[in-house]
Amino acid sequence: MELEELVEKFRMKDAKAFEKLYSMYADNICGVIYNIVKNTDIAQEICQDVFVKAWNNAESYNVSKGRFFTWMLNIARNAAIDEVRSKSHKNSKQNLSSDFFVDILEDKNDLNTQVDAIGIKSLLTNLKEKCVQIIDLLYFKGYTQKEAAEELEIPIGTVKTRNRSCIAQIRGNIAI
């Protein structure tokens, strides 16, 4: 079944389509949340709530929100950031940037846990620190171009190009 068809059924509150989409994206969404809240139990809880919220607002999804995954990504980031703020973790995005998703990836790698088919090490092969930073801000923390430029102290145009080259590198690693 094509993704578009699946998403359309989901918008019509098709439970089967929802299950399918959950199995496709649950780990990704939970990964983004976990990267922000840094607590497995809380991350799982928020992750479940995010899918409940997605189901409840299924008909509000449309292409103006971007890809289906992107839409879910936005809901997840907002929920996770709300959680962090509500727990009066210091109320700014800056404080969220001190740790990178890469730490989580490395932790898991150290514990030698079987995660998925793509080896993490291979995924991150040769990935530079500046790539880790920018990917963390744009994908895991939802920074805008402008915010990321300020955070990294680089010109705003550079954000787009640097990010593209970093993503390209990961794509290259996947292909290996």
Binding site: S23, A26, W55, S64, R67, T70, K108, N163, I167
Partner: protein, 266 residues
């Protein structure tokens, strides 16, 4: 459209990150539908991001929690049990307000009551003083009456009945003559009220020959309640007569207007 250049700009990576505006998202969706190379690029970028984010997931993964998500959805969609909230009435507040309203009404009522009573008291005082005046008047009147009574009961008094004459046979009067004090009290109760501009005049008469001497006028006849008039009479009267005369009286009696006449018994 130069799709290669467009792809190279890096905007599609931001599109997947979900940090573009809705207008930009719509534009890109349209381009993706139009240009397969853009669509494929987006999918490739998304695949890379999916790989990354999946790798960041908690160790146990999320798949095992589908049942929990479904349970939460079911719980939210189940017919809601409407719990009737016990009315959280703030009684003390209500009682407070009620009491203050009651107090205000009470004070107003007492104020108006007080004013009513005050005006009632004023009225009563006025009525009281009016009554006192009347009592005074009555006392005075009583004293006068008693005085009058004691006067006419005096042993020296000689009573002369004056009978009605041709002008008005129903009229009558009485004369109480105290010879020693030379006073005559005329009781004129039986005379009709004199017309305007006229007045009763009392005469002392000598009979042989008939000589009338004016004793005085019955002034203020209409307003006098007792209709008893005191007159001086130094004469050796043999009879008394009362005539109706023009105001101010006359030198000699108008015998055509003789109302009453009575002879003193010797």
């Amino acid at each position: 459209m130069d799709t290669e250049k467009y792809i190279a700009s890096g905007i599609l990576e931001l599109y997947v990150a979900g940090i573009l505006s809705e207008v930009e998202n719509l534009d890109i969706a349209r381009y993706a539908a139009e240009y397969p190379e853009i669509q494929n690029e987006i999918k490739a970028i998304e695949a890379a991001v999916l790989a990354l984010t999946k790798a960041a997931a908690p160790k146990e993964g999320a798949q095992i929690h589908l049942a929990k998500v479904q349970a939460k959805i079911a719980a939210a969609e189940a017919p809601k049990v409407i719990t009737i909230q016990p009315e959280n009435t703030n009684w003390s507040s209500y009682i407070g307000w009620a009491a203050s309203i009651l107090l205000a009404v009470g004070l107003f009522w007492m104020y108006t009551q007080n004013n009513t009573l005050k005006s009632n008291l004023d009225n009563s005082t006025q009525v009281n003083s009016a009554l006192e005046e009347k009592i005074e008047e009555a006392k005075t009147s009583l004293e006068k009456t008693e005085e009058l009574l004691s006067t006419i009961r005096d042993k020296n008094i000689q009573v002369v009945a004056l009978g009605g004459q041709a002008v008005d046979p129903n009229s009558y009067a009485k004369a109480y003559w105290n010879k020693s004090e030379q006073k005559v009290f005329i009781d004129a109760q039986g005379l009709p009220e004199p017309p305007d501009g006229m007045v009763y005049q009392v005469w002392s008469l000598k009979l042989n020959p008939l000589t009338p001497t004016s004793m005085g006028l019955l002034e203020d006849f209409i307003t006098d309640d007792t209709k008893v008039f005191a007159l001086n009479n130094p004469n050796e009267s043999e009879a008394f007569g009362i005539t109706l005369e023009p105001a101010g009286g006359s030198e000699t009696p108008n015998l055509e207007q003789l109302y009453t006449l009575g002879v003193v018994s010797s």
